[in-house]
């Protein structure tokens, strides 16, 4: 292996991190965007390298500063972290291809240097959270991500002033979540004297049965739940996704909450151990009902929205319910389904938000009343949206179907009445998804356009990236060996790690 490859774990993070200040120094729209796109693509290629390498040869550890863990901070690329990094940087790169035209509609060109710097920081932060093997380092990178998210969301204020209150609400809720995580890490540290996740895990059995550890698990889980917008901590998400600039929504919909899902999986399976989490602690009985309520109730709420972005945001909260359900099943199939759904939902939802962004580009609105008849006005974009919608519902040959298939297998593996009940609940929730997507189809094709509504397709620079995602949605729904393969490797790795 070349020496560049041995540095790949850190390069995937410090490239965006160090490009951010460079980006911030430039004015004008083109250079910051180009730099961000190139850096994101490089980061993506390093992640892919890592993913293929660890899938074959096993985890890589990188000692930052040359200090061995647990004294120094360690980066660990393993089948799960490399997979999630690949999803984050891939989504980011795809969104950036689309960003240039789209963002000029919402943010003045003079601020794009700072805007893209914040974008790079969010990217680097999420990648750093994913790859780090140090519990406190997670908190630091979580805050880099959070602060840059707050400002990115507030940039929607040029279109709607409610972006400001959405960002502020997210700041309050997000800081409470991060502080909960900080307390959880502190409780782990006070009982073990170490911050390295593997080191804590190796001592975990001896201290597991103490009150501080139980409290630590509670604080960490609530912290992650707030950050991933798990029902009932989701209140910040619909506003944030609705009023943020379109590319920010598309980027976060595919990545931000997924990182928190990853953290939840990582702590439950790699640190606490499945036996402790689901045996001694009642995590299944807590998470499972919340997951079911999330995907049922939020799908219903989505039906009644009058703003397309808001509708998709509620659908995101519902889809997160599926991922939580997979975690709560505490089985390899369930875990595979969750990890797979991180990937599948990221592609589909980002693609959908990008098509909505294209509609906004032409019509200047994402309210349903302004989008009536959009099917005639913007046939290519709308058709993309409909295909993405099918993938979201989970019709066969789409990725949504594949992950739900695994999830249904996971719940049926239980073999009890609850398992069948869960399968039925998933079916009902999918029917709700059919309703809210149908509502849009009806509106787009069977309602007359409002008088004097803008007509015409979005430019190709928007349509092509949209269709890359839509095409990807179907590609990974038909050719599933790669995504399923990586998800299974990751799930096996996690279940193997806990023995």
């Amino acid at each position: 292996m070349s020496s560049l490859f041995t540095q790949a774990p850190i390069l995937a993070i410090i490239l965006p991190l160090l490009s951010a200040p460079i980006c911030a120094l430039f004015r004008g729209a083109t250079f910051p965007w180009a730099l961000t796109t190139i850096v994101s693509a490089l980061s993506f290629s390093f992640s892919l390298d890592l993913l293929f390498h660890v899938a074959e040869y096993g985890a890589i550890s990188y000692e930052i500063g040359g200090w061995a863990p647990p004294w120094g901070i360690e980066y660990i690329a393993d089948p799960l972290s490399a997979f999630v990094m690949m999803v984050i940087s891939g989504i980011s790169t795809g969104v950036l291809l689309y960003a240039r035209e789209s963002i000029l509609k919402e943010v003045p060109a003079s601020r794009l240097g700072f805007f893209f710097a914040a974008y790079l920081l969010a990217l680097a932060g999420m990648m750093g959270i994913t790859i780090t093997g140090d519990a406190f380092n997670i908190f630091v990178f979580l805050e880099i991500t959070s602060l840059s998210s707050y400002v990115l969301i507030s940039m929607g204020a040029g279109t709607d002033r409610r972006a400001l209150t959405a960002a502020f609400q997210y700041l309050i809720v997000g800081t409470i979540g991060a502080t909960f995580i900080l307390i959880g890490v502190g409780l782990l540290y006070v009982m073990t004297g170490t911050l390295n996740i593997a080191d804590i895990a190796s001592q975990f059995d001896t201290i597991a049965d103490t009150r501080p550890i139980r409290a630590a698990v509670g604080f960490l889980m609530v912290g992650f739940a707030i950050k991933l917008a798990m029902f009932p901590f989701h209140i910040w998400l619909p506003n944030a996704y609705t009023y943020a600039p379109n590319i920010v929504t598309a980027f976060f919909a595919g990545t931000a909450t997924k990182v928190s899902v990853y953290l939840m999986i990582r702590f439950i399976y790699s640190m606490f151990g499945a036996d402790f989490s689901f045996g001694e602690l009642p995590l299944t009985t807590i998470l499972m009902p919340l997951a079911v309520v999330a995907f049922l109730s939020m799908s219903v709420v989505a039906i009644f929205q009058d703003n397309l972005k808001r509708l998709l945001a509620f659908s995101s909260v519902a889809q997160l319910g599926y991922m939580i359900l997979g975690i709560a099943l505490a089985s390899e199939t369930g875990l595979t389904a969750s990890i797979l759904h991180i990937f599948n939902h990221a592609i589909v939802k980002t693609g959908l938000f990008l098509t909505v962004g294209a509609m906004f580009y032409v019509t200047g609105s994402t309210y349903l009343k302004d989008l009536a008849g959009i099917g005639q006005r913007m046939p290519i974009t709308t058709f993309g949206f409909v295909l993405g919608g099918l993938a979201l519902i989970g019709v066969p040959l789409t990725p949504g179907f594949i992950s739900k298939w695994y999830l249904v297998q996971g719940v049926l593996e239980r073999g009890d009445a609850i398992g069948y009940g869960l399968a039925i609940a998933m079916l009902i929730s999918s029917l709700f998804a059919v309703i809210y997507i149908w509502r849009i189809v009806e509106l787009a094709y069977f309602k007359p356009s409002p008088e004097g509504a803008p007509t015409g397709e979005a430019p190709l620079t928007l349509i092509i990236p949209c269709w890359i995602f839509i095409f990807g949605s179907f590609y990974f729904g038909i050719e599933t060996s790669m995504s399923v393969g990586f998800a299974e490797t990751a799930a096996k790795f996690l279940m193997g790690a806990v023995k």
């Binding site: 120094l25 040359g66 120094g72 003079s110 602060l147 002033r161 004297g193």
Partner: protein, 348 residues
């Protein structure tokens, strides 16, 4: 005696916090919060955390208070009496507190030498090996800048993020028809903040005493900033505290002589440059160690001898932290202060 002092300070802390919750005047609440921070800094000293105490005093009692006051000057100090339901929040916070109290009963005794934290092999190496490996008397600096140097890099990035975030948020143009105005302005982004002459903005030209005192004081503030920056290896201090003090010197100048003069001295563009430069300096040290064949931030390879390399590395990254923090604090201050000026001009 020490116990009584600490119990007294702790109770003062709780009283302060309750008062913050109770008062309706936000100026009072801000000053009380500042007092709570200051008491907290005293408690940190008693708990042997001198570096943390220094930072809490400079940030919690200093910079944060300035930020709150700056905001209150823009939004007004009165809190409307809330009609919000308070039963549920009270219940929730008490429940969370209950979980913590439940946990404390099995926490190791405070101050005992046998706790996992004190007997950990991390603590052992930091206290016993770092004098040989890094040879910096202040172990907090050694851990901060070397063993956990990547956390500190992250921290520098956080403050950089805050700097550009505040500039992004507060440089947006006022009013609801932002789009139209914003496009007109887009060619000269901060035109309203830079070289505009306006004598009315010179703060209080007749206050002779503040002028004279601050003229005498500011050189010493800056000098002290340098001392804290470069003495961080030996005593409490380091890049972060130094950056805050340095920024405080400029902020004092700005409050007494007016924002315009400070901006002539240090234009916003220059502040932005330093904001980025500090992060790049810190990261640059890491990149150089990578080019020398080591891992990111491995200072051992910077010079021929590892200890000398550690010293150089720590010096440079602390400098990077100091520069970014100074610039970020100034950027944030410019953001808030500039906002009040544009508001005054538009007659709001």
């Amino acid at each position: 005696m020490e116990e009584f002092t600490s119990v007294f300070l702790m109770l003062l802390l709780v009283a302060g916090a309750l008062a913050v919750l109770h008062v309706r005047n936000l100026f009072v609440a801000t000053m009380l919060l500042s007092a709570v921070s200051f008491i907290m800094a005293l408690i940190f000293v008693m708990l042997d955390a001198v570096d943390v105490a220094f930072t809490e005093a400079a940030v919690g009692a200093g910079i944060s208070t300035v930020l709150y006051l700056g905001t209150l000057a823009l939004v007004g100090p009165h809190e409307k009496s809330s009609t919000k339901k308070t039963a549920l929040p009270l219940l929730l916070s008490l429940a969370v507190g209950g979980v913590l109290i439940y946990a404390t009963f099995e926490l190791p005794t405070v101050g005992s030498p046998d706790t996992p934290v004190q007997t950990s092999r991390l603590t052992d190496r930091f206290l016993n090996e770092s004098p040989k490996e890094i040879a910096v008397p202040n172990i907090v600096t050694a851990v901060l800048a070397s063993y956990r140097g990547f956390d500190t890099f992250g921290e520098t990035t956080v403050i950089f993020t805050a700097g550009i975030a505040v500039l992004l948020i507060l440089s947006q143009v006022r009013g609801r028809r932002e789009e139209d105005v914003a496009i007109e302005e887009s060619t000269t982004p901060q035109s309203d903040l830079t070289a505009e002459e306006d004598t009315s903005l010179q703060a209080s030209p007749h206050d002779l005493v503040p002028h004279v005192v601050s003229k005498l004081l500011i050189p010493f503030v800056l000098l002290f900033g340098f001392y804290v920056q470069f003495h961080g290896d030996f005593g409490p201090g380091g890049g972060f505290q130094a950056g805050v003090i340095f920024a405080a010197g400029f902020i004092l100048y700005s409050l007494v002589f007016g924002l315009e003069y400070t901006k002539k001295l240090l234009p916003l563009r220059l502040v932005e440059f330093f904001l980025a430069f500090g992060v790049l300096l810190y990261g640059g040290v890491g990149v150089v160690s990578m080019l020398k064949g080591g891992n990111f931030l491995d200072y051992n390879l910077l010079l021929a001898s590892p200890v000398a390399g550690q010293h150089l590395g720590i010096l440079l990254v602390e400098l990077g932290v100091g520069i970014t923090v100074t610039a970020a604090m100034l950027a944030i201050f410019y953001g808030f202060a500039g906002r009040s000026e544009t508001n005054n001009k538009s007659g709001a």
